[in-house]
């Protein structure tokens, strides 16, 4: 990939998303999938500053709530990006992992502690924090279990299988009333607390979420830029060749599912403690499609893509709510959102921050030679 010197103002060198050890901050270089330039670092600093300062500037809780929701979806989209964007596996059932994390913490706190043992939930404040990791791990385990049968399957068959698993989890949550209280949902999940300080305000909860998100994004960027990430990209680009090069594709695929699931599970735990209530209706199939849209919208295989996708989509959705015409005709909001999605795809199919180079191996058959050529040599935007 040619780069003119003037674009490269630092000693970092350009790299593909597959990995090259940058001398600079790994997040910055990984974020844009390309070289780490000063403008990128400034951008990230600005975004981070906004993320931290905005809640103090904004008076109304409604926008802080929105920012918290954005933060959750940022991580979800980033997690799915690992599976879909970096490894090239079309997962249409991602929301199941989110649900597993949420239900895990809800069941532990509600069913086990409160109902069965009758303990005061306040005393277990530390469990919330541990649950972020444990919930993530439980979801990761589910990822492996769900991923295993899909190993033999390709492309769109894979997609429908993952969709099936996602729906099965939701239907289980909906009908296993003894465990999940079915459609009534589980309420009374305590808010996060540290040694007596309760995170009750929207602002404080937002910062918990933001901290989790930053941690997650950092972790994701490290993993993606490691050998594992390179293996994933290899699998995405050409699975047969990767296998031939000695990469155990099955193992790495399972790892990909597990990693993606982990972050979804962790955010699920946060979601439960944030809302203090969960129910199956938060984990519908449409959510999986939505998260996928965020990834594609922002640009796949690129760490900043999902972040931007989440911000743009959620922001647009909430902003539209206030438009007077839409207030009177609520269904026009859906029309606008659908239209935006189609237009964005038609006019920028690689996503807002995506590069044309990223391709997805999805169909079992062969590809057009011309198409292949175009992809190998195309340089648009990277």
């Amino acid at each position: 990939m040619a780069r003119t010197p003037k674009d490269n103002q630092t000693d970092a060198q350009p790299s593909g998303s597959g990995g090259y050890r940058a001398k600079l901050n790994p997040i910055a270089s990984a974020m844009t999938g390309g070289g780490s330039t000063r403008s990128t670092r400034i951008l990230l600093a600005v975004l981070l500053a906004f993320a931290v300062i905005l809640p103090f500037l904004v008076g109304s809780n409604r926008w802080i709530t929105l920012m918290t929701v954005v933060v959750i979806y940022v991580v979800l989209a980033s997690g799915l990006n690992i599976v879909v964007g970096f490894t090239g596996l079309l997962d249409l059932g991602y929301v199941a992992f989110y649900a597993i994390g949420a239900y895990y913490t809800a069941i532990i706190f509600n069913n086990v502690l409160k109902v069965k043992y009758g303990v005061d939930l306040d005393a277990f404040w530390w469990l919330t924090w541990i649950n972020f990791v444990v919930g993530g791990l439980v979801a990761a385990l589910a990822g492996v279990l769900i991923g295993y049968p899909t190993l033999r399957v390709r492309g769109d068959y894979l997609a429908i299988m993952t969709l099936g698993f996602g729906e099965i989890i939701r239907i289980l949550a909906l009908n296993w009333v003894g465990l999940t209280r079915g459609p009534s949902g589980i309420s009374g999940i305590p808010q996060p607390a540290i040694l007596g300080y309760h995170f009750t305000t929207q602002k404080s909860l937002y910062f918990v979420g933001l901290a989790l998100a930053l941690l997650s994004l950092w972790a994701i960027s490290r993993i993606v830029r490691s050998r594992i990430g390179r293996a994933w990209t290899a699998i995405r680009e050409d699975e047969v060749a990767a296998e031939a090069m000695g990469i155990h594709t099955s193992r790495y695929k399972l790892l990909s599912y597990a990693t993606g699931a982990f972050f979804a599970g962790a955010m699920g735990v946060f979601f439960g403690h944030y809302l203090n209530y969960i129910s199956p209706s938060s984990f519908m199939l449409m959510e999986s499609f939505l998260i996928l849209s965020l990834v594609v919208l922002g640009g796949m295989g690129n760490l900043a893509g999902p972040v931007l996708g989440a911000i743009v989509w959620m922001g647009l959705q909430e902003w539209l709510r206030d438009v007077p015409f839409i207030q009177l005709h609520p269904e026009t909001r859906g029309i606008a959102m659908g239209l935006v999605l189609v237009l964005l795809m038609v006019f920028r199919p690689q996503g807002l921050l995506g590069s044309m180079r990223v391709k997805l191996e999805m169909r079992p058959g062969s590809k057009d030679e011309a198409e292949r050529e175009r992809e190998v040599w195309s340089d648009a935007g990277s």
């Binding site: 879909v84 079309l90 049968p149 033999r152 399957v153 390709r154 769109d156 068959y157 997609a159 429908i160 299988m161 969709l163 099936g164 698993f165 729906e167 099965i168 239907i171 289980l172 009908n175 699975e239 047969v240 199939l285 499609f289 996928l292 849209s293 594609v296 919208l297 796949m300 005709h329 269904e331 026009t332 909001r333 859906g334 029309i335 959102m337 659908g338 239209l339 935006v340 999605l341 189609v342 795809m345 038609v346 199919p349 690689q350 996503g351 995506g354 044309m356 990223v358 391709k359 997805l360 999805m362 169909r363 079992p364 058959g365 062969s366 590809k367 057009d368 011309a370 198409e371 175009r374």
Partner: protein, 312 residues
């Protein structure tokens, strides 16, 4: 025993509807390898347009507008034509520009179209369920469905009609695909687009025709579905669309007889599963997915799908 027979009849009924939609899905997928998520919405519009044509008047955008008050058969044919054209337009605007783009872009575009159409329908028809007018041929003077019994199994005339229509549609479609020039062009394009283009096939036209026919099938399914369940509503397409997609995959996606088989199989399994498995009716949707996963685990390309080699 009679319970079993009745459940089988029930299952066959739904199976036919799934089969019709599945065929629409699979035709489109076979040619451009796109999971057309907006297909359920075309199905939904088929139902609404059928109702529109059959009623003396209907509420559009909140205003009552006079309508032709045609009979069912004419109405459904009009619906098929209109929705067929809709399908072609959607392909032209939302999918064709993305034909050489990353696959996921087209998928997300399809999701966008789906959201768009659902809300457009809600804007036009309102969010409430709209009742499907009684079809005089299949309804008694008292408003009850005309039915006959075989033993203690009740079968309505309309159910028979649905089965007949489905089978006829399948046969006609098969004839078309196997025996006509356009059909041959479709099969060729499904196999290899660029080579077909080199052979003189107008691939764009073929794709448009595929969408036309596939969407028309969806509309047919929608009109019949509306007749079976006596109503239509803007979100009615999501679940059947999903089930149809499962059916198409079950049968081997891209394979038309496979979609038909998959649809019937799915309908019957759902009916029997919800009747005889403990907690079956609650987990009915899950049963469909479990069957799918099991079958794909042993036959990764579906029942009638060909195992395609990974690399050329």
């Amino acid at each position: 025993m009679s319970q079993l027979a009745q459940q089988l009849v029930n299952g066959l009924m739904i199976g036919c509807l799934y089969a019709l939609i599945a065929v629409g899905y699979t035709m489109v997928y076979g040619i451009i390898e796109l999971i057309n998520f907006a297909f359920g919405e075309l199905f939904m519009f088929g139902a609404f347009i059928t109702i529109m044509m059959m009623s003396p008047d209907i509420s559009l955008f909140g205003q009552t507008v006079g309508m032709p008050h045609l009979n069912f058969f004419l109405a459904i044919i009009i619906a098929m034509v209109v929705v067929g054209i809709m399908g072609v337009v959607i392909e032209r605007l939302a999918y064709r520009p993305l034909r050489n783009a990353p696959r996921l872009a087209a998928l997300i575009s399809a999701i966008g179209v789906s959201i768009l159409l659902q809300n457009v329908a809600q804007a036009i028809f309102g969010s409430q369920q709209v009742p499907f007018p009684d079809i005089p041929l299949f309804t008694t003077a008292l408003g009850a469905p005309k039915a006959f019994s075989v033993g203690s199994v009740e079968i309505t005339y309309f159910q028979v009609f649905v089965v007949v229509v489905t089978v006829t549609a399948m046969l006609l479609l098969n004839l078309f695909v196997q025996r006509t020039r356009m059909g041959r062009a479709m099969r060729a394009s499904a196999q290899d687009k660029s080579t077909s283009a080199l052979m003189g096939v107008n691939v764009n036209k073929v794709i448009a025709v595929t969408f036309l026919i596939g969407s028309a099938m969806g509309a047919l399914a929608g009109g019949l579905y509306g007749g079976v369940y006596h109503s239509a509503w803007p979100l009615m397409g999501f679940n059947p669309g999903l089930k149809a997609f499962i059916a198409a995959v079950l049968g081997g996606i891209g394979n038309i007889p496979g979609a038909f088989l998959g649809g019937l199989l799915l309908g019957v399994i759902e009916a029997l599963g919800s009747a005889y498995l403990p907690l079956g009716s609650q987990y009915r949707d899950a049963i469909a997915f479990v069957i799918l996963i099991l079958i794909l685990s042993f036959r990764p390309s579906g029942l009638l799908g060909s195992t395609v080699s990974q690399k050329a």
